[in-house]
Amino acid sequence: MDFKIARDDTWPEISFEERIGTAEFRIHERAHIVVDGDTCRGCSTRECVVACPANLFVPTSDGGILFNYENCFECGTCYLVCNKEGAISWNYPEGGYGVVFHRT
């Protein structure tokens, strides 16, 4: 057995990019979720930024929200926590596209 553990590194810390890279996403050219940046500019609570497990909501320097649909788990957290009516128009991706789980 050549399974060795370095004690100063109990489990390797990984970047978010590596983390999200462990999941498979079949990306459609059209976004299935659309975020209305203007509505988000008036939002101070930003629930989506902390809650989205895929970290898809990125605050921009001009006070808006940049949203990436590509690595979406299609879980629904964002529209459930969003307190701005109509800021997130949420749909499932076209059939066959989106996240494909393997071992979970």
């Binding site: 050219e29 076209e94 494909v100 393997h102």
Partner: protein, 261 residues
């Protein structure tokens, strides 16, 4: 008749075909086969060489509009030449044979070339842009060459055309076609075993050509004389631009270099 050849690939070590599929290039080929046949009012034959799971690819093709489907039964690992020989027997009546330029696994793109040789018809490989005229009698095909060059081919006769994945997006199959394709009949034929030659067992390598040393005292010039395609050498320049202008400049450069069309 228009034919399309599809390769069903199961990822290495996968227990079943949940994660299997055809390459983006094969999907493009299927779409272009359907478009050509629609323009000509012709039929589309979809063919694969593979195990029973590969019938999924054929059913998907039937759902998208292919007229007939044939699977040549074999296990994975058959050489490109044997595959092409088996395909040739199925598609020898086709006017145009569409193929993907690479499969989802090996991706050497050798089957279309072998296929054209076996059929004794023209080939155009590595195509990135296709235009089919109104009645399907003429196909304008753009081929990517090194150094950002393009070769524009005019296809009017019989040919094997192999395309890259970005050439055409495969249409979405209508719902009822998906349901009926699930029960559609697929012709299965055994793989006739042609004699295996030595060329079948080892990859083909062209012989090295002996060239006289270019006459120049400068080493760089000699290397250029041997390898240069004649393209203008790329220059490095630093430019400071506004974001919008910078984006335009990047797009222009990518177009110049052949990454965008």
């Amino acid at each position: 008749m228009i034919a399309v050849c599809l390769k069903w690939v199961q990822p290495h070590g996968a227990a079943d075909d949940r994660f299997a599929g055809i390459s983006a290039a094969d999907q493009s080929a299927l779409e272009l086969a359907l478009r050509t046949a629609e323009a000509r009012g012709d039929e589309v034959l979809a063919v694969t060489v593979g195990p029973v799971g590969a019938e999924r690819a054929l059913r998907d093709a039937l759902a998208c509009g292919a007229t007939r489907a044939v699977r040549i039964a074999t296990e994975p690992g058959v050489s490109s030449l044997r595959t092409a020989t088996a395909l040739a027997a199925e598609v020898d009546a086709a006017d145009v044979v569409w193929c993907g330029d690479y499969s989802a696994d090996r991706g050497s793109g050798s089957v279309p070339a072998f296929l054209a040789a076996r059929l004794g018809i023209d080939q155009a490989l590595g195509l990135i842009d296709i235009e089919i005229n109104g009645n399907g009698s003429h196909i304008r095909a753009v081929r990517r060459l090194d150094g950002g060059r393009r070769e524009v081919l005019s296809v009017t006769g019989r040919a094997v055309l192999s395309v890259e994945g970005s050439t055409a997006r495969l249409r979405r199959a209508p719902l009822r076609s998906v349901i009926t394709a699930d029960a559609a009949s697929i012709t299965v034929r055994p793989l006739e075993s042609p004699d295996i030659s030595a060329a079948d067992l080892v990859p083909y390598r062209p012989r090295a050509r002996v060239l006289p040393a270019p006459a120049s005292a400068n080493a760089l010039d000699r290397v250029r004389a041997l390898t240069d395609t004649g393209a203008a050498p790329s220059r490095t320049e630093t430019v400071v631009l506004e974001p919008a202008a910078a984006a335009r400049r990047i797009l222009d450069a990518l177009r110049d270099w052949g990454y965008l069309t």
